[in-house]
């Protein structure tokens, strides 16, 4: 994702300002790495059944979006962390970097095994990532398909200030506004944590409402539709009325679709709000108050000018939060990971201050 000349990584034009990176990937190398944190009977189960982990494969290793060819990323934590430091944390002088582990325990159908894996992953994150680099913050992996068990896992880490959010894949069994998920939102509210909704997931039904897709290209691009459905569901079903302090980060969602969704929801709300009387203000108002978007991968209009127009249409300088999405490959040079032409104050907000206040960093 980042061009390196020799061992030096070029610092981009906007370096020198505080930077908080809201999306760094840490990958569980294998089930072996989790065994020290799993009960004996689960270790035995894994060996006896030849269980290899959940089927979800949101980031196929060979896909050009996943990682630049030739870079070593998979493998042990040391290698992953070294690459992360060399390509992002050090050259950008990142103040805080939020890890978003995308291990999909949601794809494990045994809820107890899913919960055990989630718990193991979080202990592994604490020991192998958070303890190793004080700049890192992490996301609680939780079996969100079983909200009561997920809440239990969130409660386990709520007191560890290095865990700043609970993460859920955007593809879910049923939309996230449904009250079945309330235990998760209650737990997040209890510990003042952000709920992160992240690209991907494998709940067992198609990634679009029109059915199964044929190619990764379709699934990758269509994920924006799933995000839109979740945002709509959260607002319409009154999640933010029931949990007025809840904060939701959309991770790897893109952002250029958001203005049009806000316009659409506001328009329809005027005539249909009697169906949802708990939605007391225009939906865009809920979105600006409760929802944030990470920057990369950034949908790319043909010109910077057009991109700035879309960012302006958000009508908020608080909604975007910088993220490199390391090690996914969306740009060749670090320089390109941040749009040109933002005002100095907006640039500072996007690079660090929005995340600082949202994640209470």
């Amino acid at each position: 994702m980042v061009q390196e000349s020799g061992n030096e990584v070029q610092r981009p034009f906007w370096s020198g300002r505080p930077v908080i990176d809201c999306d760094l990937h840490n990958e569980v190398p294998s089930l072996e790495a989790l065994k020290p944190y799993l009960a004996d009977h689960w270790c035995a189960y894994i060996e006896e059944s030849a269980f290899r982990g959940p089927d979800a494969d949101d980031y196929p290793k060979g896909a050009p979006t996943t990682i630049r060819p030739g870079l070593e990323w998979e493998g042990e934590v040391e290698g992953q962390l070294a690459l992360m430091r060399r390509q992002v944390l050090d050259p950008l002088q990142v103040e805080f970097g939020v890890l978003d582990c995308a291990y999909r325990v949601q794809g494990v159908h045994d809820p107890e095994l899913a919960a055990a894996l989630a718990s193991a992953i979080n202990r592994w994150q604490a020991e192998h990532w958070l303890d190793r680099d004080p700049r890192l913050r992490a996301s609680i992996v939780a079996p969100t398909q079983s909200p009561v068990l997920a809440a239990r896992e969130i409660d386990r880490w709520g007191a560890d200030a290095r865990f700043v959010q609970a993460v859920m894949p955007v593809r879910s069994l049923i939309p996230y506004g449904n009250r079945i998920y309330d235990p998760i939102y209650e737990a997040a509210a209890r510990h003042d944590l952000v709920v992160g909704i992240q690209f991907g997931g494998a709940p067992g039904h198609p990634p679009t409402p029109s059915g199964w897709l044929s190619t990764y290209m379709e699934e990758y691009a269509a994920m924006a539709q799933v995000f839109q459905s979740q945002v709509t569901s959260l607002i319409v079903e009154g999640v933010f009325d029931r949990f007025p302090d809840l904060r939701v980060a959309l991770i790897e969602a893109g952002c250029t679709w958001m203005p049009s969704l806000m316009w659409r929801l506001d328009k329809e709300w005027r005539g249909l709000r009697r169906d949802i009387p708990w939605v007391k203000r225009p939906p865009s108002d809920y979105i600006r108050r409760h929802i944030r978007l990470t920057l990369q991968p950034l949908d790319a209009p043909p010109s910077d000018k057009q991109l700035l127009e879309v960012i302006g249409q958000l009508d908020s300088d608080e909604m975007l939060m910088f993220a490199s999405d390391h090690p996914h490959w969306h740009f060749d040079r670090l320089e390109e990971s941040f749009p040109r032409g933002l005002s100095d104050s907006l640039a500072r907000r996007v690079l660090a201050e929005n995340a600082r206040s949202f994640y209470r960093l």
């Binding site: 079903e237 009154g238 005027r270 005539g271 249909l272 709000r273 009697r274 009387p277 708990w278």
Partner: protein, 148 residues
């Protein structure tokens, strides 16, 4: 100001309404439990015939499930896109300051004072938003709309 007789009292019983043409305007006159209110029959959104819309109450909720249904009959919804307006003030529910429909004063006036100027008012009390309103009166057998 011009007063216009738009109906006899019996034409608009409580809960009823009538669309009247006054000085080229289409105006809806509503009887809410003996009090009369009049709105321009033109939705500020896209010009729909607002006063032909569903007349019902105000539905509110603090959170899902806690429904509160009040002011039954006092809200009219445009038949075109469902925007809700307060019959008593002409103000929309979702943007009461900027999105509102013109309202007119209505009075019920006794017949014997029909030619005698102000006459008796029958049950009319001024609403809180007088600036935009037009006086309307009912003269015993007549409902009178005031156009400023």
């Amino acid at each position: 100001m011009a007063e216009h007789v738009v109906a006899t009292l019996g034409e608009i019983p409580p809960g009823g309404r009538k669309i009247a043409e006054v000085e080229g305007r289409s105006i809806g006159v509503f009887n809410l439990d003996g009090q009369f209110f009049a709105l321009l029959n033109r939705c500020p959104h896209q010009g729909g015939p607002l006063c032909l819309g569903q007349q019902s109450g105000l539905l509110q909720a603090r959170v899902p499930g806690e429904y509160r249904y009040t002011r039954v009959g006092e809200i009219v919804r445009c038949p075109w896109h469902g925007w809700e307006f307060d019959l008593k003030t002409g103000r929309s529910w979702f943007d009461p300051v900027r999105t509102r429909v013109r309202s007119y004063r209505v009075r019920v006036q006794a017949r014997e004072s029909e030619s005698g100027g102000c006459g008796e008012e029958a049950g009319h009390r001024p609403g809180p938003y007088r600036a935009e309103t037009f006086p309307v009166s009912v003269r015993q057998h007549y409902v009178v709309v005031e156009i400023p």
